[in-house]
């Protein structure tokens, strides 16, 4: 009985595993599963955005026209960030088993990626101008995080 109640409750909210943003992180997993190349994996960056925007536009009644997109970009970035952490941790575990050197090189690669990403997305913010800076920055960091996931996943391809 309790279980049936829980299922009903689960069905009455949109079938998203994530937060209240209406973004479904599982869509990213599916896209990555179907993709076979690094480029195709990076192109999964915007997966889930359309459904999120439809949901957000339906829910949002405020007067900031950028809010739904900003909110969905943020949710999308969070989902990719979680994916990156999981992918990086798995790679690090795998490399640590092989020795100190590859693991340290992976850490170095990740540090240099962070420096590069910060520079690039600051530039994107600056270039977009004051009113669009937030969206441009959010889009940049989401896209670059997705690309880094694609890179780390593809490093395993040649094995």
């Amino acid at each position: 009985m309790i279980r049936a109640g829980l299922v009903l409750m689960a069905l009455s909210v949109p079938a998203y595993a994530g937060d209240a943003s209406g973004f479904d992180p599982l869509a990213i997993d599916q896209c990555l599963k179907d993709a076979t190349t690094q480029g195709a994996r990076a192109d999964c960056a915007g997966t889930g955005m359309e459904a999120c925007l439809t949901y957000a536009k339906g829910k949002y009644s405020g007067d900031d026209p950028d809010f739904p997109l900003a909110n969905c970009l943020d949710a999308s970035h969070q989902a990719w960030e979680a994916k990156l952490t999981a992918t990086y941790d798995a790679a690090l575990q795998d490399q640590s088993a092989k020795g100190i050197k590859p693991a340290e090189m992976l850490r170095q690669a990740e540090r240099s990626w962070i420096a590069f990403r910060d520079d690039l997305c600051n530039q994107a913010r600056d270039a977009a101008g004051e009113d669009k800076a937030k969206l441009a920055g959010a889009r940049c960091i989401r896209d670059e995080t997705a690309r880094q996931v694609a890179l780390l996943l593809s490093l395993g391809d040649a094995e």
Binding site: G46, M49, Q95, L106, S112, F116, N122, Q123, A124, L155
Partner: protein, 168 residues
């Protein structure tokens, strides 16, 4: 007689056992995807894949040559786009100075960003090579990494400043 043979040898293009890289494949792909900033990335790897499918292209040396040839083309595009952006940034910075603006100049930011990209590329592709711990796959894997990252950066620079406000 020997001189004639040597002359003939020099006149034939490249070496017979080297796979032929066709630079037109990349140019055609960039033309085909022009105007769509996201899709030009499908071009990365197309020309080298075609090259590796040719006779001699599937050996370690052949793969390395094909990947290096495509990387060189992306690198040329990257340099063209970087030079264009730097010129634009320097001109804008000069205007700011004339106006007495206190805004941060753009050119040093662009230069720093490119230096950071190089560090990112090198550390990522070095890691890629070391993962194979001296195996023969380390060369092509590292070369593939260089090509992929150079292509992505060339396209980032190309699309920088383009209007992508509608992008999700």
């Amino acid at each position: 007689m020997r001189i004639l043979a040597l002359a003939l040898l020099l006149a034939t293009p490249a070496v017979a056992d080297e796979p032929a890289y066709d630079p037109n494949i990349l140019t055609a792909c960039l033309d085909r995807t022009a105007g769509d900033t996201g899709n030009a990335r499908v071009c990365i790897g197309e020309a080298s894949t075609a090259c590796m499918a040719k006779p001699g292209g599937d050996t370690t040396v052949g793969m390395g040559n094909c990947l290096a040839a495509e990387t060189k083309d992306w690198d040329a595009l990257l340099n063209r786009e970087y030079t264009r952006l730097l010129k634009r940034a320097e001109e804008a910075d000069a205007d700011l100075v004339k106006l007495g603006s206190a805004a941060d100049p753009a050119a040093p930011v662009l230069k720093q960003s490119q230096r950071d990209w190089i560090a990112f590329r090198d550390s990522s592709c070095r890691y890629e090579a070391v993962r194979f711990q001296g195996g023969t796959a380390g060369g092509p894997a590292s070369a593939n990494c260089m090509m992929q990252l150079t292509g992505e950066q060339a396209l980032r620079l190309r699309d920088m400043g383009r209007d992508n406000e509608g992008a999700q």
